[in-house]
């Protein structure tokens, strides 16, 4: 009971956040909530299966761009549904063609996907519609964006918790451990991976769609910024990508660090990012949560 109650209380408190913080603080809250959502959604697929997706921003950017294109034509709710459908369809195509194969093909494909989508959209806008760069004028306040993102983040974590207890979660864990064993246990590898990948992609797309009004001016080069993919992966890894709360735990402190770095060291900031990333891979390969656990159990051993 307490495992459900505590997060709910936390969520309630976070929802009251905008009442007490300044505008700048609200911006930070939105950023943190966005990255918690992105990292958790990324881990939903990549955390258990070890299929490293480097395409987060391909979906995030698609979501934001869908809103930019459709925001004057359709009501907001319908725009969000369209974004989710487009993101899901994209993930379906990518997944169907690459997830049947060895993991490395998927990684390579996801590595270039954002660049591909960016080039295709740019080409289409320049040659067909003739409008590169669009404005988003929606009647949505910053607080509403925050609440939407908070809700999406909560749904993502709840969904992950549910999947972890379901047959799907078990199948994903087996796949991550050993694909051959998974096949022999009668798991339909391609289908299980595809379901998780599409779910994760839909959430990533929605996250992009929800934050898009904050950009006001949207251009492919802005919304398909590869740093977003990079940050998402490192946040999830730092906390522990195969734990329920790992991505959230990694996302909040790293988001604040990055925010501070990018405003104080705008030029050298990618260097810090790279070093931090390499540091995480070498020092906490399984995430902070499991490192802390093994430290605690070692202390107990020593105390005996």
């Amino acid at each position: 009971m307490i495992r459900i109650l505590l997060p709910l209380i936390g969520l309630g408190l976070l929802a009251l956040g905008p009442m007490v913080v300044s505008d700048y603080g609200l911006g930070l809250l939105i950023g943190a909530a966005t990255y918690v959502t992105l990292a958790s959604a990324w881990a939903l697929f990549s955390g258990q299966t070890h299929y490293i997706s480097l395409a987060t921003v391909a979906f995030y950017g698609t979501g934001a761009y869908t809103v930019a294109v459709l925001n004057e034509a359709l009501p907001y709710g319908a725009v969000l549904i369209c974004a989710a459908l487009i993101g899901g369809a994209m993930a379906l195509v990518v997944g169907l063609s690459t997830l049947r194969l060895r993991g490395v093909y998927f990684v390579i494909f996801s590595f270039g996907l954002a660049e591909l989508v960016r080039q295709v959209i740019t080409w289409y806008e320049v040659n067909v519609t003739g409008t590169l760069g669009r404005y988003i004028f929606l009647d949505i306040t910053t607080r509403q964006i925050y609440w939407q993102m908070l809700a999406l983040g909560a749904v993502t974590i709840a969904l992950t918790a549910w999947i972890n207890r379901s047959r799907l979660g078990l199948a994903l864990r087996v796949i991550g451990d050993d694909e051959t064993v998974a096949t022999h246990s009668g798991i339909n590898l391609a289908r299980v991976k595809l379901v998780a990948f599409v779910l994760s992609a839909v959430i990533l797309t929605l996250a992009g769609a929800i934050t898009s009004p904050r950009y006001v001016y949207v251009e492919p080069a802005i919304v398909f910024n590869p740093t977003v993919s990079f940050l998402t992966v490192i946040m999830a890894l730092l906390g522990g990508a195969n734990r329920l709360w790992g991505p959230a735990l990694g996302a909040v402190p790293l988001f604040l660090v990055f925010e501070w770095l990018s405003s104080n060291f705008p030029d050298t900031y990618p260097i810090f990012l790279g070093l931090l990333f390499i540091g995480v891979v070498f020092l906490v390969p399984n995430g902070l949560i499991s490192s802390a656990e093994s430290l605690v159990s070692r202390k107990k051993e020593a105390g005996r």
Binding site: L54, W123, F272, L273, G274, L275
Partner: protein, 289 residues
């Protein structure tokens, strides 16, 4: 028109083939999926341009030095970064994930360094930029030289791998890293050499790219992507396959750029990649594994 596309495509394909050779060595022999490969190429391109602009040193003269430096850099990178990951994985599947993540971090590290040192602008030099007529098609001399470098380096590598003992060891490690020690091959040493040689090839490709192409500090991903697609097309670890696939991609890209739109070349690369994955995931020239 067709001859123009054909010749320009082959010339571009030479550079791609060279790019892919290095990557196929690193992945095929050292088992490191190096996502920072394009950044290694860029470092060399920027260094060559800096020598040319700063001291008037001809790119052809700095090329051997850059290739040697690339070998040294690759050797050091393998020793410092990759070796601990290889040791940690103990030959398991973990190495692939770890190397992808570590080199993804390296990508941003190098990119950040290049941005600080050289800025975000597009860079290009004009070196031997005069036309030479081949079968009635005017090709810039610098492109032809780049093509020549690729042919020489590629052919030397293919012959060395085929005929020398060293090449035999390389191929043994590429084929079965677990059994290679049984016949007295030091796998760690060969893997290190493979990785370093791959970096040297990346540096050579970067130097030849700098002679005729415009590039920027953030463009490494595209080089890596193209090299990866060529490696997959040719079959992982298959050197002649990578050469052939490199030429094929050069031709295709030149065709798309002249006949459809230059902005869609990456899309064409991806389309080819998808086709290969759906049709022959073991590579166009690879056998079934």
């Amino acid at each position: 028109m067709l001859t123009t596309t054909l010749i320009l495509g082959l010339v571009l394909g030479g550079t791609y083939a060279l790019l892919a050779l290095g990557l196929t060595l690193q992945y095929g022999i050292a088992r490191i999926m190096n996502l920072a490969y394009g950044e290694l190429t860029l470092i060399s391109a920027f260094v060559v341009v800096a020598f040319f602009q700063g001291m008037g040193l001809s790119p052809l003269l700095s090329l051997p030095a850059v290739a040697v430096a690339g070998y040294a850099l690759g050797w050091t990178l393998y020793q410092i970064m990759m070796r601990p990951l290889v040791a940690r994985s103990g030959g398991g599947g973990r190495l692939e994930v770890d190397s992808i993540l570590a080199t993804f971090g390296l990508l941003f590290l190098i990119q950040g360094g290049l941005l600080v040192l050289f800025g975000a602008n597009f860079t290009s030099i004009s070196y031997l930029d005069r036309g030479v007529s081949i079968l009635g098609v005017s090709v810039a001399l610098n492109r032809l030289i780049a093509f020549g470098i690729c042919i020489v380096a590629g052919a030397a590598l293919v012959i060395a791998l085929r005929t020398t003992t060293w090449g035999l060891k390389m191929r043994a490690v590429a084929l079965t890293p677990a059994s290679a020690p049984l016949v007295g091959i030091d796998v760690n040493r060969i893997a290190r050499q493979g990785f370093a040689l791959g970096s040297a090839l990346a540096a050579t490709a970067g130097a030849s790219i700098s002679m005729y192409q415009t590039f920027s500090a953030t463009g490494g991903v595209v080089f890596t992507m193209k090299a990866l697609v060529i490696v997959i097309m040719g079959g992982v670890g298959n050197v002649p396959g990578a050469l052939a696939a490199g030429f094929a991609l050069g031709l295709l890209e030149t065709f798309v750029a002249t006949a459809i739109d230059p902005g869609l070349t990456l899309a064409a690369t991806f389309a080819i990649f998808l086709l290969v994955l759906l049709w022959r995931p073991q590579g166009l020239f690879g056998g079934r594994s």
